[in-house]
């Protein structure tokens, strides 16, 4: 598509990319907290719609958003299927002992809306941030240092461990291992996966020890050096904070009036 080439790199958004990571982190926190406190279905539905629009506007494209959502909606399906049957109340359908209640159904929809609204908001605000910058922002906001260290190390070594597990699996396949795809796996398949899992764990433990040793060898004594550059917050940050505060206030007001 030669016509699009010239305009390609600039992505139009509501300017979320221009916000400071600290603003985005705090915004996500405030928004999630507000959504957690809301209970009216209509207000929650509006919140879910609003945050969905925000995620679409800020996110890395609809396809990527949908891919992220698939993980979330799997859990939601289980919830939607189970909750109506486990909350007592006015019977809706079914026969004892499996009766779906209206209250249970309402509760399920409420949770569905809440989780989705929170998910959209987090995708919108934090989805485009490198984990490193999230960690730096959290440190700048005085989050517990240990927690941030843990977060950054998970980010750094998650990939290494995944690659290790993948290599093991390739090596297994290279020696003609094929998991028996019958309903009950063969004992050999179970045992092989057991060995692999054990090996991944042992290696992860040993790697953790070596990483800690390497850190000590460079004089590490339990404190990570402070985070990188910390520019002042800009007008965009202020505007976003005001908008978000207005939206949250409006949501609470609507809930009170309803």
């Amino acid at each position: 598509m030669p016509a699009a080439l010239g305009a390609a790199p600039v992505r139009v958004s509501f300017g979320i990319a221009a916000l400071d990571p600290r603003t985005r982190l705090l915004g996500a926190f405030a928004g999630v907290l507000a959504v957690a406190l809301l209970s009216s279905l209509w207000v929650l539905a509006a919140a879910a719609l609003g945050t969905f629009a925000l995620a679409l506007a800020a996110g890395p494209g609809t396809a990527a958003l949908m891919r992220r959502l698939v993980h979330l909606e799997g859990f939601m399906l289980v919830l939607l299927a189970l909750l109506p049957f486990t909350v007592p109340g006015t019977p809706l359908f079914g026969a004892p002992p499996f009766v779906a209640s209206a209250e249970g159904f309402a509760r399920a929809v409420q949770i569905l809306l809440k989780v989705n609204a929170c998910g959209f908001l987090v995708f919108a605000l934090l989805g485009g941030l490198e984990p490193v910058r999230i960690g730096a922002a959290a440190l700048a906001l005085k989050a517990p240092e240990r927690l941030v260290q843990l977060f950054l190390l998970v980010v750094r070594y998650g990939g290494v461990l995944r690659a290790e597990a993948a290599r093991l699996q390739e090596a297994m396949r290279a020696r003609a291992f094929a998991p028996r795809a019958s309903l009950t796996w063969s004992l050999h398949t179970w045992r092989t996966y057991g060995h692999m899992l054990g090996m991944v764990l042992v290696r992860a433990l040993e790697r953790a020890e070596r990483v800690s040793e390497a850190m000590r060898c460079r004089g590490f004594s339990g404190r990570l050096p402070a985070s990188a550059e910390r520019p002042a917050l800009g007008a965009a940050d202020l505007a976003f904070a005001l908008l978000l505060a207005a939206a949250i206030l409006a949501a609470f007001a609507a809930e009170h009036l309803a």
Partner: protein, 242 residues
Amino acid sequence: MSALLALDGVTVARGGRTVLAGADLQLHAGERLALVGPNGAGKTTLLRTLVGLERPSAGRVVAFGAERRTEVDFGTVRARAQLMFQDPDDQLFCPTVIDDVAFGPLNLGRKRDEAFAAARAVLERLGLVHLADRVTHRLSGGEKRLVCLAALIAMAPDALLLDEPTNDLDEENRARMIDILLRLDAALLLVSHDRDFLERIATRAVLLREGTVRPALVHRHVVTQEEIHIHGLDASHRHAEG
């Protein structure tokens, strides 16, 4: 003159096996010492013992003029003697290259700006400054190793202990590594199976076998033989036989 780092009759056991049995070793200032020996001879254990990651059951570890026993003792040793691990992924734990190179200087108590300036200066000196803002786990194997070296050099160490430093380096990066090491002032202790590398760098060699260290020679014979080399089809040199 006394040695920077020395082992004096050191015995170390790992996993119930005696790896070092009364080993003696001295590393002097200005020296580039090759430590060779068969697989599993305990070369890595010896390096780890020098910086206190292994504690001997007998014998003494003497570093920078004092005997070292406790974790606190070795804390001061580690500020001056840097160990390069075999696997660069163990060493590069920071998100970006510049963070990792600045990590050591920050631990030494340097101010943030100073530490980052020093890190950048080291990267520049080693010709790696283009990697400064790269994410460490996305570097190539060779780049990882060179960044590891930069991170150690940023500590301005008196001694560098290198465990298989030329592993997974291509010709170009290997030449670079050699060039960097030859220009350093720090004393080097080199564990490697790369004979050519040792022959070019080492000023002295010792052999670790059956738990003890004895003098050895690394030298080059003039041998006339066919040489295997690989290059692209656009080679700039001509072959005798066309």
